[in-house]
């Protein structure tokens, strides 16, 4: 029997999970197809959620009712705030997760939401008139009105260790294939990217005595806006050690044996996540690199040595590991490896993450050239929501750069494509100062409520927080401070550099725990205005319909290259045109003037 659904999501990774849950929240009849049910929600690489830029995405997912942050709170065994010495826009809560607990939590959630999960491998799509009507699994066909595909590192995945190359999407997991033929038929070229992971060590074989301990924050912090609704398990420490000259010598001596240096790998790896081989070869002047020793779980004896991912052969891995302080007699439980996989140039996607030439197939996660759980989850959210809106015949939702990292993510991907696995950084956001992790709920609330993604509980938590902030605001407004013969309010002081946040707080009679957020809202209010103006400008651009231009060759003042690009992409309006790669503001001006010219001719 073939099943019929509203929405079918393929791939039970971080992208797929958020996509299917979003569809469910929006009231659709959904299904998830994945290779191995027991590995749904698995953390393929490091056991952590969050990081500068990444946390911002996790919080936005949460603000739209997603589950990543809650699962992190329920399985996080260490929480730390990064960039504590800087302002709130670049601070980020990072959590060390109990890997097994994390995936169990995700799987329990899917069960609780009564989502149909099928164990199968999707190898093809059936399509007619640019519309997909079924995903073809090895076991059966899955019919639906819309599809979200999230193959992660599995599509034609290859595992590389030393000179050994074998098929697989993750260590000991098989690859997925067949879909490359479908994409080929759609004239979509696939590219190759790669990433790597370090060897895992047995806890009992590490000498922690000699390592520097790195405990979590004293103050309890949460990933989800629901805060203490989800209790953290027991909290533990991480440790720090470092490579030394001997480690480097071992690696240099064996460099030819690395899959990465032997020419076995064709895919491009992330520059910001280099393997230890890369670090040593590229930065030869450094004689030591830091390693964070992270537990993979409370019960588990697996330890993740962060900072030494590798594709050297097993015996070399063993040798260099044991040259490191504290690891002298460490046992390797799982070898480090590199994985190479297929991805699609994301410039083939609309900002809703729908494939441009198919009406109802959306792509999310690593398949779009990104790396990271949060990046995957955020895309899962955008794709899941828009696939659902499509099923509901409602208008699409596109997050904007001006008010979310999700917006920055989809805009960057679809406009510029990728040249290496894409990861989020705060420096990618022009409006960084106002895109804080703590105000993601405010930034997403309107859209979330509107699309039915936010339940009563979340709404109440949100409104309570708003009320608390308002109380602080009132206090700030009514507290008067004398400066010589001038009277200022505490509110005025928030923008001054000669008063710290603590100074301002000290002038108030009473404050609550939202004081910092209130303070920075005021401090950055100028940037909020700027952000609003830009959004308005964009709306203006949207009103310029480009439908009347049939051939851009006619538009004088554009370079040949730009003309060609516009003819290829056929943007609907100036806003879309502004998103086409290589379109400068001047080119937009030329288009605007050309529209006026057409108008003048038509009305004359």
């Amino acid at each position: 029997m073939n099943s019929i659904f509203d929405l079918v999501v393929i791939g039970g990774g971080h992208a797929g999970v958020e996509a299917v849950l979003a569809g469910k929240r929006m009231g659709l009849n959904v299904a998830l197809i994945t290779l191995d049910k027991t590995k749904t929600g698995r953390m393929s690489c490091n056991p952590a959620i969050g990081g500068i830029g990444k946390t911002h995405l996790a919080k936005e997912i949460d603000a739209l009712g997603g589950y990543m942050a809650e699962a992190t709170d329920l399985s996080g065994i260490q929480f730390r705030t990064l960039n504590k010495k800087k302002g709130p826009a670049v601070q980020a809560t990072r959590a060390q997760a109990d890997k097994e607990l994390y995936e169990k939590t995700i799987q329990a959630k899917l069960k609780k939401e009564q989502i149909d999960v099928f164990e199968d491998e999707v190898i093809d799509f059936e399509e007619k008139n640019c519309e997909v009507f079924a995903a073809v699994g090895k076991n059966k066909k899955y019919k639906a009105k819309a599809f979200v595909l999230t193959t992660g590192t599995f599509l034609n995945g290859a595992i590389l260790i030393g000179s050994n190359k074998r098929e697989g999407g993750r260590i000991d997991e098989k690859k997925a294939s067949g879909l490359e033929k479908f994409f080929d038929k759609q004239n979509l070229m696939l590219g190759r990217l790669k990433t790597g992971t370090p060897p895992r060590l047995a806890r009992e074989t590490i000498n922690f005595e000699v390592l520097e301990e790195q405990p979590g924050d004293q103050e309890v912090c949460y990933m989800s806006f629901l805060e203490n609704k989800n209790h953290h398990p027991k909290q533990v420490s991480c440790y720090i050690t470092k490579t030394n000259k001997r480690t480097h010598d071992i690696i240099k001596k064996n460099i030819k044996k690395s899959a990465m240096y032997s020419g076995l790998i064709s895919g491009v790896g992330p520059r910001y996540c280099p393997s230890i081989e890369d670090k040593i070869m590229r930065f030869s002047s450094k004689d030591s690199h830091q390693i964070f020793v992270e537990p993979e779980g409370l019960e588990s004896n697996w330890v993740y040595p962060n900072g030494i991912s590798t594709s050297l052969p097993r015996e070399v891995q063993e040798e260099y590991i044991r040259s490191i302080e504290g690891f002298e007699s460490a046992e390797i439980l799982q070898q480090g490896y590199a994985v190479e996989y297929d991805y699609i140039d994301p410039r083939n996607l609309e900002k809703t993450l729908r494939l441009k030439n198919l009406k109802n197939l959306f792509l999310a996660g690593q398949i779009n050239g990104t790396t990271g759980y949060e990046e995957a989850g955020a895309q899962g959210m955008v794709a899941g929501i828009n696939a659902s809106l499509l099923v509901q015949k409602k208008a699409e939702w596109i997050p904007q750069r001006q008010n979310s990292y999700m917006g920055v993510l989809v805009d960057d991907l679809t406009r510029f494509g990728v040249s290496e696995p894409y990861r989020m950084f705060t420096s990618r956001a022009e409006h960084r100062l106002v895109l804080r992790q703590d105000n993601a709920d405010e930034r997403m609330f309107e859209a979330g409520i509107h699309m039915g993604l936010i339940n009563k509980e979340r709404e109440e938590v949100f409104l309570k927080k708003q009320k608390e902030k308002k109380q602080n605001l009132e206090q700030l407004r009514k507290t008067k401070i004398k400066f010589g013969d001038q009277i200022k309010t505490a509110h005025d002081l928030c923008k001054r550099n000669d008063f710290t946040m603590e100074d301002v707080k000290g002038t108030l009679e009473k404050t609550n725990k939202r004081f910092g957020e209130t303070y920075y809202d005021i401090r950055y209010s100028g940037y909020v205005d700027k952000q609003r103006r830009e959004l308005e400008k964009m709306r203006n651009l949207e009103e310029h319909d480009l439908g009347l231009i049939f051939d851009y060759a006619e538009v004088v003042g554009l370079s040949g290259e730009v003309k060609e690009k516009l003819n290829k992409t056929k943007p609907k309006n100036l806003l879309e045109a502004s998103g086409v790669e290589g379109i400068t503001p001047a080119a937009l001006n030329v288009l605007a003037i050309h529209l006026k010219k057409i108008d003048a001719i038509r009305t004359s």
């Binding site: 960039n83 800087k86 709130p88 420096s427 550099n497 946040m501 080119a587 050309h594």
Partner: protein, 430 residues
């Protein structure tokens, strides 16, 4: 056969006023009846002598035909060269309006030229400066705008800013990485200060081009009743300022443009300065005088007493003029110029002096107002004080904002408003 382009427009291409010939340019979809009437083939690129009948009278005109697209605007164009009389030009305008043409908006010709890919935006801006540049140094400034001397300087500033930005961003996005060592905010502030010095230099050496900034301002100062107003009137050769025996007659500043064969200076007559007055209006007049003197390009200090010691605030900047030399001539030791407003003696020499002033270079290069504004804005943004826990983010934001301003100078413009601004500053019909 009709012309090619947008709706037909016309504008005077030569400077208004008396001249040997006046040029009126036409562009756009010119009506075929017009070509018929002028007996010109639309696609014949040539010139023709035509007697145009304006009804009441006729004038013998030279008509030049520039078929599209080989014309300045890229549209069909005609140029009518008539005798240089504003009345004739007015007749031509009326005559053209009767034939369905309209007078062009400011900058419309160049806008069309830009639309038709005839000129680039930077060129358009350069051209607009070129039309209005009258003194030599402005033309030099244009040169540096076109040749890219300025753009190199701006690029240099931007690349320095980017250097600081890179440092900041590393601190923000990679603070948890081993390789990123804590930079102190003081070090960032120091690098920024260096860039600020360079920007300030740019702003000092490149002044904004405004129509009025072309005219040098000459201010007449001196004690009351020494004859400033009389000299003013005789320089202009008309009675503009009120002249009386009574000291303190002039209380407001009287301004007038003085044409000097091709150049113009603005001459300002001011209230005389004397410490002993109690009259409130006269006092406030004196305040205006001091202000006008401060910002003047050139001062003429008028006196009727050759022994008078010029107040030190004016001494270095003024040209000393002794008036009323018809009554008693200045001693030979007098270093200034002797004139008589009454007889006109010495006034010619003074005019020559003003003329050399009008054509002299101020040493400051000119750039368009838009460019200058952007530089100023970038400077302002970068001078914003940043501090507190968010020093790094705030500074990074400021640099990004400043860079955006600088980007918009040479690179591309951000919205149509800017474009309109440029074209509005444009002399119509070139």
């Amino acid at each position: 056969m009709v012309g090619k382009g947008l709706d037909p427009i016309f504008a005077q291409g030569s400077a208004p006023g008396q001249s040997a010939i006046a040029v009126v340019r036409l562009s756009g979809k010119l009506p075929d009846s017009l070509y018929d009437e002028l007996k010109i083939y639309e696609d014949e690129r040539s010139f023709f002598l035509r007697e145009i009948n304006f009804g009441d009278f006729a004038d013998s005109c030279l008509v030049l035909n520039f078929p599209a697209p080989g014309s300045y605007t890229g549209e069909s164009m005609l140029e009518i060269h008539s005798h240089g009389n504003q009345l004739i030009v007015a007749e031509i305008f009326r005559w053209l309006e009767e034939r369905g043409l309209r007078e062009a908006e400011p900058g419309e010709f160049s806008k069309r030229a830009f639309l038709n890919n005839k000129i680039s935006l930077v060129q358009a801006e350069g051209v607009s400066l070129g039309i209005e540049a009258e003194t030599k140094d402005q033309l030099v400034a244009l040169d540096s705008f076109r040749s890219g001397v300025l753009s190199k300087k701006i690029e240099n500033v931007m690349s320095q800013l980017n250097g600081v930005l890179v440092e900041l961003e590393a601190q923000l996005d990679f603070s948890d990485e081993e390789d990123v060592i804590d930079t102190k905010s003081g070090a960032i502030q120091d690098s920024l200060s260096c860039v600020l010095v360079e920007l300030a230099d740019l702003l000092k050496n490149y002044g904004p081009f405004e129509k009025n900034s072309l005219k040098k301002r000459v201010v007449l100062v001196g004690r009351p009743n020494v004859g400033k107003s009389s000299i003013f009137n005789s320089l202009l050769n008309e009675d503009v300022a009120i002249v009386s025996q009574e000291a303190g007659t002039t209380r407001d500043i009287v301004r007038k443009v003085l044409p000097l064969s091709g150049f113009e200076v603005e001459v300002e007559d001011t209230a005389g300065l004397r410490p002993e007055t109690n009259d409130a209006i006269e006092k406030s007049g004196m305040v205006l005088t001091v202000k006008a003197a401060e910002s003047a390009d050139f001062l003429i200090y008028v006196t009727d007493d050759p022994e008078e010691i010029v107040p030190k605030e004016f001494r270095d900047r003024s040209f000393l003029v002794f008036n009323k030399c018809d009554l008693n001539p200045a001693p030979s030791s007098f270093s200034g110029l002797s004139v008589s407003a009454k007889t006109g003696e010495g006034i010619g020499v003074l005019l020559e002096k003003l003329k050399s002033l009008a054509t002299s270079s101020s040493g400051q290069k000119l750039i368009s107002e838009r460019t200058h504004k952007k530089l100023e804005k970038a400077m302002k943004i970068l001078s914003k004080e940043a501090g507190g826990a968010d020093f790094f983010e705030m500074t990074a934001q400021n640099i990004r904002d400043a860079n955006q301003e600088l980007n918009e100078i040479y690179g591309e413009l951000d919205n149509e408003k800017i474009l309109d601004q440029i074209f509005n500053n444009f002399c119509i019909g070139k």
